[in-house]
């Protein structure tokens, strides 16, 4: 039996802690080396997708397609300290979908239904606008498409036309 790890195994280990930071707003993501001190992180201010709807630039899917592993190493998490809690979260809802009878967009954004949310504190059933929400991402479903942060991208870093993926010391990462 061959005990040598395959390239895929190595990469799987290397990117196990991959994180996509911050839903919506000031989004970024991280590709974290499991035992290393260096991580990959997307600079959301440079990522094309983070500005979708503001600049009219076309969507970029390279984060999903350029990773050497089958299910992109990019993962999303919700960094509540920077973004989250909103009732109408553009990372959760497809905000251009028709509004339903409860006043919410009728469609969700994530194509893999990887995002769920739950109210923080006591929910107000009579006026949903009074509620805060915590958003949670199921990493086993997330493929790093970046629609939720409007972001995406290591092989990916090379492909990003905006050089939005940067390497940072772990302590400086989100």
């Amino acid at each position: 039996m061959n005990e040598d790890p395959t390239r895929r195994d190595v990469l799987h280990t290397a990117v196990r802690g991959t994180v996509l930071a911050v839903l919506g707003g000031g989004a970024g993501f991280l590709v974290r080396k499991a035992n290393g001190q260096i991580v990959w992180q997307v600079d959301a201010s440079r990522c094309i997708n983070s500005r979708l709807g503001e600049t009219g630039v076309p969507a970029c899917n390279l984060c999903t397609t350029e990773c050497v592993v089958a299910l992109s190493a990019v993962r999303a998490v919700n960094e509540h300290a920077k973004c989250g809690r909103c009732n109408i979260c553009p990372a959760y809802f497809k905000i251009t979908s028709p509004v339903n009878e409860r006043g919410y967009p009728s469609e969700k954004l994530c194509p893999r239904d990887a995002i769920t949310r739950r109210p923080i504190g006591k929910a107000d059933p009579d006026d949903p606008a009074n509620n805060f929400y915590e958003y949670v991402i199921d990493e086993s479903k997330c493929d790093g498409c970046g629609k939720c942060v409007n972001c995406n991208r290591c092989s990916i870093a090379k492909a990003c036309p905006q050089s939005a993926v940067v390497q940072l010391p772990r302590a400086q990462a989100i």
């Binding site: 919506g24 707003g25 909103c86």
Partner: protein, 267 residues
């Protein structure tokens, strides 16, 4: 109701354009960088003076005193630009992003408390506005508290997380609200958190971010006009808005650092 873009004022700020206000004589005050600039009704620069800190908002009282909202303080100037007071108060713990007046009170939007703080003209704290709701403050993901004051003294505060403009009594009671979310129909407010800014004249005037636009609603909440959308930089947000006695609307584009003037045109 329709509006046309009638003028663009370039106040020549280097980095920021944070606030606009109009006085009873139609003079325009613009806040940006660490200064305030005064323009006559024709848009000509008449006066400019510096503040001790970056100015985050500006308001002009009926007696002509000019209030500059800053971080944790308000500077009060005479119309000539002479500094007469600096207000510091524990209730001004954050950035003061809006200034207004109702009766004998001075109102300050405080981002730390997510509320509007009401003071008397001597700077004595009276009460908070916007705290008396289930989420203990205004939902301001954009980091700005903004409001307008109607002729009857009611305070109309932007509550962007709720996609509403809320109407408050000066003592703080919530009296009602207009607005709802809609990502397509311009009668609603789009995105995560709009409107960002509010002004009151003969109607309710609002601005939004992503994509930026200015709109006018009647006091029942019915959309009267989309004043403008395409004119603004796509990344402009927290665009302060003011309206004069003739219904002319001033919108501060925070990226282009320009003030766009819109005149009403009755169809």
């Amino acid at each position: 109701m329709h509006y046309r873009h009638s003028a663009t004022i370039s106040p020549q700020f280097k980095s920021t354009l944070t606030g606009v206000a109009v006085d009873a004589h139609g003079q325009l005050y613009a806040a940006g960088d660490s200064s305030i600039k005064l323009f006559d009704p024709a848009g000509q620069l008449r006066r400019s003076w510096t503040a001790s800190q970056p100015v985050l908002s500006v308001g002009v009282a009926s007696d002509g005193m000019v209030y500059a909202g800053e971080a944790r303080q308000i500077e009060v100037f005479e119309g000539t630009g002479k500094l007469v007071h600096i207000w510091r108060n524990p209730k001004l713990a954050g950035r003061v992003t809006a200034i207004g007046f109702t009766g004998d009170s001075v109102l300050a939007g405080d981002t730390w408390d997510r509320a509007i703080q009401r003071f008397d003209r001597n700077g004595t704290f009276l009460n908070s506005i916007g705290k008396d709701n289930p989420v203990n403050g205004l939902l301001i993901p954009n980091g700005v508290v903004d409001f307008g004051v109607a002729a009857d003294g009611a305070i109309y505060a932007a509550n962007p997380g709720k996609h509403r403009v809320e109407r408050y009594a000066p003592a703080g009671q919530l009296l009602g609200h207009i607005g709802r979310f809609d990502g397509n129909d311009p009668t609603g407010f789009s995105g995560c958190c709009n409107p960002t800014n509010v002004a009151i004249g003969g109607a309710i005037y609002t601005t939004e971010k992503a994509g930026p636009r200015a709109k006018m609603y009647d006091f029942e909440g019915k959309l009267s006009a989309v004043i403008a959308a395409d004119l603004f930089d796509p990344n402009s947000k927290n665009m302060d808005i003011a309206v004069n006695g003739n219904g002319c609307v001033y919108v501060a584009d925070t990226v282009k650092l320009a003030i766009f003037v819109f005149e009403p045109v009755n169809a």
